[in-house]
Amino acid sequence: MFKKLIEESTGKSPWLFHINAGSCNGCDIELVSVLTPRYDAERLGFKLAGTPRHADIVVVTGPVTQQSLNRVLRTIEQVPEPRCIVTMGSCPQSGNVFRGSYAIAGPLSKYVHVDVDVAGCTPKPEAVIDGLVKATEILREKRRAMK
Amino acid sequence: MILMNYIAAFFLIVLGLYTIVTKYNLVKTVIGLSIMDYGVNLLIVTIGFNPGGTAPIFTFSELNPSSFFVDPIPQALTLTSIVIGACVTAMSLALVMKIYEQYGTMDTREVRRLRG
C-alpha cells in the first residue's frame, strides 16, 4: 500500500530542473511562462527546483554546445533516481539551425536516454505542459519498476 | 615628614604608569613597571612607620605594653614585594630579548601582530 502511495505521489509531484545548454533563451522564457498564472503548471504539482538533487524531471534547452556538454551530463547524473529527461525545443533534438556547427556536440540523445522530446522553436506552453505530463507518466512507470 | 613619603609614593606610582602608557620602547615599559613597584613598596614601608619607634626585634620577655616600635608586618610585605618585583623585571626583560630576536624592533607600535 505504501508503495502504491509513493507511486501515486510520484506522478503528482514532479519537480523540474532546467538546464540551459546554449539556448537562445526563447525556450527558457517559455518554460517560465508555463508556471505563470495563465498556464499555471503548479496545479499539476510542477515546481522549479533549485538544484538537481531535488529534481525529478530535467528539462534541457539549447543545442548542447561543446562547452556545455560535460556540464549537462554531469548535472543529469546528479539527479536522483527515478528521473526523466525532457528536451525542449528543436535544438537539443536536432541542433536546429546550429546543426553542423563545430561548436555543437548535440543532439542530446547521443549521450543520454531522452524520455520526452517537445519539439518546436519554441514549443507552445500547452505543448510543454503536455510533454511534461507525459514525462510524469514515464516517471511513474520508472518508480513502479524500482524495487 | 611622613607626608613627603606618601606624596613620593603616589608620584612614583603615577610616574610608572605614565611611563608605561606613553613610552613606546619595550625596555622603558619594563622600567615603568619597576618604578610603579618601587612606589608601592615605599607606600608599604611608610604605612608601617611609627615616628620614633625602634626596630621590632624583641623576645617575649622584653615585650611590654610600653615598647614602641615600627609595625613589622609591612616590612615583611615589602621584602616579599621586592622579590616579586625583581622576578617580574627579570621575566619581562627575558621576554623583551626574545621579542627583539623575533621582531627585530623594540618599538611597541610594531609589536602588534595580534590585534583586532
Partner: protein, 347 residues
Amino acid sequence: MFSLAFLQTALLYLGYILIFPGFLFCFVIGLLLCGIDRKAVARMQKRVGPPILQPFYDFFKLCGKETIVPAAANRTTFMLAPLVGLAALVVIQLFIPVFNFRVFRNLPEVADIIVILYLLLIPAVSVMLGGAATGSPYAGVGLSREMVTVLAVELPLVLVLLSVAKTVGNALGNGLVFSLSGIVDFQAAHGSLIGRVSMIPAALAMLLIIPGETGNHPFDAAEAETEICEGLLAEYSGAPLGIYKLSHAVKMLTLTSLFVALFLGGIGTGVEHLVAAIGLTGGFAAALSLILQVLILVLLCIVLTLVTISFVHAVTARLKIEQLFKYYWTVVTGLALISLVLAWYGY
C-alpha cells in the same frame, strides 16, 4: 513498578507523543497548513494552484526517491540531522497547550516560554549542521543566511515573550509568568491577551516573526532557490529532504499554535461550558470538547497561516539578507519594544 496503572500512563504518553498532539497530528496538520498556504498564494495570484494535498504528495514522492550522499559529506550528520530536527519540533508541540488540553496537566511543567525559545533553535541548528556537513559551498552561503535570519528573529521574539510574561504577571500581581500553561490559564479566566492595548504591537510583531522563523517568503533568503540553489538543502535528496520539508511544515504549525497560545488563548476555552449547556456530561463530553477545541485551534492556525504567511508571500518580493536583518531589528523590534514598554508601565 510495572503495574497496570504505570503501563496505562506509559501508553497514554506514548499516544501523546505519537498521535496527538505529537507526531501524527503535526504531520497531518502541518502539511495541511502548507498545502493551504500554497493554494491561497496561488489564488491570490489568480492561479488555480496545486491541490491542497500537494505537500503530502511531495513528501511521499521524496520518500520514494533515491538518497544520494555526496562523497564530501559526513554521512552520519547528513542522515541524522533531519531526524533530530523533526523530533525536537514534535516535542515542542507537546509543550504548547491546546486551550484547556495539555499533555502535562498532572506533572510539573517541563518547559516554559524561555525554554521553548531555545528549543526552537534546535531544528534551525540541525538543518544548519546537516547542510554544513555536505560540504557544498551553496550550503555555506545558506548557513550564513540562515544564521543571520535566526539572529534577526531572535531579538523581537525575546521581546515579545518578555512582554507577554510581564503583562500576565502584572495582571496576576505576582511579577511575571513564564509558564505557557499559566499564560493560557490566565487567558481562559480573563479573556485573550490580544484584547489588551499593550499586547497589540506584540501580536503584530509576532505575526511578522512567524514567516521569518519558518523561513517563508519574503524572509527566505536562506533557501533562495534561484540564487543559491536552496542553500542548506542543496545536496539533500530523497527521504532526508522530505523530512526537512515536513519539518518546515510542522514549524508553521508550531509557531501559529504558539501564537494562539500566547495571544488567543481565551477563545477556545468556553467550549466545555457550551458542551455542558447542551446537557452532555462524562467522558463523551470531555472528548467532544477536546475535539471542538482542536478544531478551533486548527481553524485559527489556518487563519494565521493565511494572514502571516500566504498574504505576506503574495504581496512582497524576497528581501536581501541585510535588509531582512535590518527590518527585524528596527521595525519588528520596535513594535515589540513598544509592547514591552507599555506592559512595563502596566497598560
